[in-house]
Symmetry: C2
Subunit: 300 residues, 2 copies
DNA sequence: AAAATGTTTTTTCCCGATAAAAGACATTAC
DNA sequence: GTAATGTCTTTTATCGGGAAAAAACATTTT
């Protein structure tokens, strides 16, 4: 069992969801583009759809025979890539406590525990190391630096530098730039969410990421853009774990975002700077307040 | 042949160089610390030294019998780690030209060409990706973004932000801090090098890295400190390739460093800012001027 | 002839296995 | 009894192999 076919299963499920909308499917290359997979995978999907009586497939004609049923879908857990599985497992251990700074990370143990090969774990750790939470000892183990107060402060320091600069670059963008339309769209979505905050407050984090990524992209600097991956990862897992006051927090953040968006649209650098600082300050407070004081890094 | 014993060979060579200095060797754990390897490796080294008649080894007593000869050393090329070998090969291809932006990178081909397994190449590419020169297409190949003018500009933009901030943090460090002694030592070495610049100009880059890393460390921010790895890598390979005007460039840089060091020692933030900006500006100019105009990134 | 489908080749992803190196435990020397 | 040496165990680094997925090539359809 050298490689799971999760790409196929995931694409199959996504393809099933497109099925009822139209009475026949497009060409193989077109489906490939739509699903983001190769034609080889598309053909596997079509084969199975034919076998299970979902479609009638004969060369160019791919007629939908029936609507997909619950049992046609592959189970969700079989559609995750190994990298996602490892990341989730690892982050759970990291945030579930008991993960003290200075602790050693054992590749073999991790691999056995998750039930995967060591190669995948190694590759994950190398990729993960750029987030600054772990560090490699040459020819030896990895060391956990821990999700500490110091980490949060260092992260937010960079974030603030980068976002202030990106926001300044944003307002300098010409009126014709597509970003203004993107910003308008985000503003509308923010207003909608603000109106239904009671029921949809958990949809905020996705909106949050989209707005900040849009702004960061204005820097036209790959290091700034890439750094948002660190922030996004931390927010993703951290807030998944820490749900305290989530609704209220998000309500405040939405209002800050709206003020921030208004400032950007005014194209007044001073206003942008102020709105940006205000939002980042409260974001930092939120992050810091959720880190238990006790969990400190050990002196090196 | 699953793992080369380069750690042993490299440590063996380094141990040989320590041999003639004293007439007997310290304990195994001590040697391990000195050489940065485990006791297992130390014992392999001692075994071989005994076999080749270099020492007489009996438990605690390790008497040196003769001075090491040329043929006692392992060949230099056998002491490199696989990661180093792959990095060198890859960078040679990258800088040797013919590496246009947008080009695909083939793991298998690279592995075959260098004569290593695919796993090592994959791990190298993942590690290397944080430098912003390559990018992964999910489930597919890597794409070379190229060492372009845009890359150099993005890199220097961040470098300038980080270094200005670090330098500001540096002057705020208390007088008792060990960094001031480090700085004094660096100043002396700069003056020595300046005096013998005609013959030793190629030793500058090592000094350059030490000074900048010292300053960056004052930020106490892991992201800033780690970012210097990107700069160091670029400088290392780029200047290795581009030797034009090296001596003159380094002469100028040493003077800028001395002015920078003086500014830091004055603890006057305004002076530091000015000296730092001046040096970074000329460093950027040097980097930019060495990038051929023609080598531009393809539009995505 | 452009674009689809059919077929074959190549590459990526991942595992298990193995030697090198690290680390842990047991024993001896001072 | 502390710190070394001697021995055994575990972990890391790396390879080759094999299935999944992508990509390339050949053939057909419109």
């Amino acid at each position: 069992m050298s490689k799971s076919n999760n790409v196929y299963k995931d694409a199959f499920n996504r393809c099933l969801r497109m099925l009822d909308e139209s009475r026949s499917l497009p060409s193989e290359p077109e489906l490939g583009t739509l699903l983001g997979v190769s034609r080889t995978t598309v053909r596997s999907i079509l084969s199975r759809m034919e076998e299970t009586g979902l479609i009638d497939w004969n060369k160019r004609s791919k007629t939908v025979l029936r609507a997909p049923r619950e049992e046609d879908f592959f189970p969700e857990e079989e559609t995750d890539s190994l990298a996602e599985i490892i990341e989730r497992s690892f982050m759970r251990r990291l945030l579930a406590g008991g993960a003290e700074a200075g602790m050693q990370i054992n590749e073999l143990e991790l691999a056995r525990e998750i039930g995967v090969g060591t190669t995948s774990v190694r590759e994950f750790l190398i990729r993960f190391s750029r987030f600054g939470l772990i560090e490699k000892r040459r020819n030896s183990h990895w060391v956990l630096k821990g999700f500490t107060r110091a980490f949060a402060l260092e992260l937010t320091e960079i974030r603030e530098m980068f976002e202030l600069r990106s926001a300044a670059a944003f307002v300098a963008l010409p009126q014709e730039s597509a970003v203004w339309a993107d910003l308008d769209r985000l503003e509308v979505e923010h207003r909608q969410l603000a109106g239904e905050i009671a029921t949809r407050f958990n949809e905020f984090s996705e909106l949050d990421e989209r707005l900040h990524r849009l702004i960061h992209r204005a820097s036209h600097n790959r290091f700034i853009v890439d750094f948002y991956d660190v922030i996004a990862m931390i927010f993703h897992y951290h807030y998944q774990w820490n749900k305290a006051e989530e609704r209220q927090r998000n309500e405040v953040a939405i209002q800050e975002h709206l003020a921030y968006i208004a400032a950007l649209k005014s194209r007044d650098p001073a206003k942008v700077d102020a709105a940006c600082r205000k939002h980042l300050k409260s974001a930092r407070q939120t992050l810091l307040s959720s880190i238990p004081e006790g969990r400190q890094a050990q002196p090196a």
